[in-house]
Symmetry: C2
Subunit: 408 residues, 2 copies
Amino acid sequence: MPKINGELLLADLRRIADFGRYQTGVHRPHLSPQDVESRHWLAGRMKEAGLEPVIDGVGTVLGKSAKSGPRILIGSHSDTQPRGGWLDGVMGVIYGLEVARALGEDPETAHLAVDVASWADEEGHWGQMTGSRSFVGMLSDADIDKARHRDEGTPMRDALKAAGLDKAPRVHFEEGRYRGYLEAHIEQGGLLEAGDKRIGIVTAIVGIYQFRLTFSGIQNHAGTTPMPIRKDAGAAMMKLYNEVMETFPGLAGPRSVWTVGKMSIEPGAPAIIPGKAEMVLQFRDADVAVLDRFQAALLEIVARHNKNGPCEVECLNLSRTMPTVMDGRFLDAIEESAVAHADGEHVRMPSGAGHDAQVIGLKMPAAMIFVPSIGGISHHFTENTEDADIVLGCQVFADAAAKILKGN
Amino acid sequence: MPKINGELLLADLRRIADFGRYQTGVHRPHLSPQDVESRHWLAGRMKEAGLEPVIDGVGTVLGKSAKSGPRILIGSHSDTQPRGGWLDGVMGVIYGLEVARALGEDPETAHLAVDVASWADEEGHWGQMTGSRSFVGMLSDADIDKARHRDEGTPMRDALKAAGLDKAPRVHFEEGRYRGYLEAHIEQGGLLEAGDKRIGIVTAIVGIYQFRLTFSGIQNHAGTTPMPIRKDAGAAMMKLYNEVMETFPGLAGPRSVWTVGKMSIEPGAPAIIPGKAEMVLQFRDADVAVLDRFQAALLEIVARHNKNGPCEVECLNLSRTMPTVMDGRFLDAIEESAVAHADGEHVRMPSGAGHDAQVIGLKMPAAMIFVPSIGGISHHFTENTEDADIVLGCQVFADAAAKILKGN
C-alpha cells in the first residue's frame, strides 16, 4: 500500500494558505486575485507531480494523469468562504495531489492513474457548485452569461476575463474514463470530535429543500392603529415560524435539521407596523421521504395562514437538491483502510453539508471521507483540524484509492 | 368669536408644501436645506402676522406676540418624516399662525396674545422632540454636541452651522408667560373616519415603553449542527415574541397597542444558524398601570428564557415616556367650540402617537385637537385630510383658544 508524505502534505496546505491569508484562516472567494494566483500555483504543483493541468473556462483546475491504468478522479474545491478556514475545502484538493504522488512512488501502484480537480466556486459566490456542475454538463454558456457575484452583482464573465480565462475551454466529464470519484473534506460539525472518532465515512449527502416565505400585511403607525385591525407582516411571520418549530420535530428523522438563517421585516422602524416580512426556511435530510413530509407540513401551515389571515403568505421553492447516496463498495474500501490505520476511530455518517461529490456522483460512483473539525467550527477563520488527523485522513484516503483502483 | 380665513389657511399650507415637495407629500427632514428654507419663510409669515420671530439654536421657530394681554402658546412641528405627508405636523403650526391673525382682526379678541412655535425635529432625525425638549430645559449643550443624524451619522452641530444657526441662542420657557399650550395635528389613525367624526378632542397622549431584546446564541453551520445542541438566536427571538403576543392581550386595556417594528438576525445567511438576534418591542397606553403590567410580564418572560436557555436574552429599556393627561378645562373649551361648529361630529380620544404637547405639557396646561386622516394614513406621502375638515378644525381651534384666553 502507498505511503503518503505527511510533511509534504502539510507544507503544501500551509503554502496555499498564503494566498488570501486572513488571521488564522483564508479569504479566497472564487476568481478573486488571490484565488486566481492560488490556482496557478496549484497547476504548477500538479505538473511537478507528473499530471497535465489546465485551468478551465469557469476556473476549475483539472490535473490529468497520462497513465493508461485504471483511473480515479479525486477533487474538492480551493475557493473559500469570505474570511473562511484554511482547510475548507482545499484539504481535499491537496489530498488528491498527495495521493497521486504517493501512488506514483510505490511500484505496486505506480501504474494507477489519479486525476486531481479543484472545482470552481463550490462556495457559491457566482452560482451553486459552478465547477462541478459545469463538468457534468449542468451549466450552459447562457448560465455563465447570467451569473453575477452574489454580493457585488458584477458579471462572472468580467471576472473570468480579468483572470485571463475568458478564452479557456471548459473541461467536461468523459464517459468511461473513471472508476469513480473520491472527495475528502473537514467534517464542519462536531460529531467526530464528540464521539472520539478521527475518520468519518460519508454514507450520503443530505438533500436540501429551501423555501422563501413572503408575508404581505399593511404598513401603519404603531401608535394609532388598534390591534384588532392590524395586518402585521412581522407578527404573521413569527407565528408561522413557531408553528414550523412545533410541527417539524414530530416529522423528523434522527438527523433532520431545519433552519431559518435569513429574515427581515420592512420598513424596519420601531414605531411602524411591518407591512412586509420575509424569511428563508431550509431543511435537510438524507431521506427524501422526510424532506417530503416537511414540505407537505409547511405547505399545510401556509395554506392555513392564507385561509385565516390577516396577512397573505407566499411560499416559493428556491431549490430542491436530492440526497445523494455514496457507493457501497467504495465505503467498504474506505472502512477497510480505516480499520488498518485507525481501528475503532472511524464511523459511518451522513454529510449535513453539500459537497461537489453530490454533483459528480450523478455521473459515477462516489464516496467521501471526513476528518474532525476542532470544536465543530467551519465557515470561520478559526476553523482547524489537528495535524495528526490531517495526515491520518490522507493515509486512509490513499489506501482506499489504491484499493478501489486495484478493484478489490 | 374670531372667524378664521379658510382660504388663507389652505394657501399657506400649500405654499409651505413647496419646500421639499415629494409626489403628493413632502420630504423635509429637520435641518435639510428645504427645511431651513421653509423656516425662514415661516418666520417671514409670522412677521407679517405681527409676531416677532426668531429661529433658535436648534432650529425652532418661535414667533412672539408683543401684546400685553393673556398669552397662549400654539405650536407643532414643520419638519417631516422622509417622504412624509404635507400636513404632519405643519398643519398645527399654520393653525397657530391663522389663530394669531384671526384673533388680531376681531376687536373682541385683538388684545389677546398668541405666540406661535414650530418645534425643531419632532420627527426625531437628531434626537427625540429636540425643539420642545430644548424649550422646557430637557436638552443640554452636551446633548447637542453628541447628537448625530439617525441615518447618516453626521453631527447636528455641523448641520446647524450649515444652516447658519450655530451662533443662534436657544429659546426657553418663561415661567408665568402663558395660560397654556395648544396643539393641533392630523389624527394619524382611522378612528375619526370610522366613527364619522371630524374633531378629535385629545384626552391624553399615551406613554410609550420601549425595549431592545438581544439574543445571544452560537453561530454555526445549518447542515452539520444537530438540532439538540443548537443555540439558535433567531429561534429564541421568535419564541419569545410569540409568548409576548400570547400574554399581552390578557393584560391590555381597550386601546393598548404593542409592536415589534424592528428585528434582525446575524449573520443572516440561509445556511448559517443565527448567532445573534435583536428586536425592539414597544407598547403604548394612556394608563401607566397597563404599561407597568406589560413591562412586568415582559421581564418575567425574559427571566424564564434566561433560566431555561438555550440562548441568553438581554432586555434593555430604551425609553419610558409617561402618559400625559390633557388639561380638563381646556378640553371643555374645545368641546364647547366643537359643539358650536360641528355638533355630534366630535369625540374625546387618546392620542396613540407622541406629540410635542407631551413635553410642553410638563410645564403648563396643554390640550390637543385632531382632524381626520383619510384612510388613517400617515408617515407616507399619500397622507391627506379633506380641505373642509382642515378649515373646520382651525375654526374650532381658534374659538377654543379665544375661550381659554378670555378665561371662561
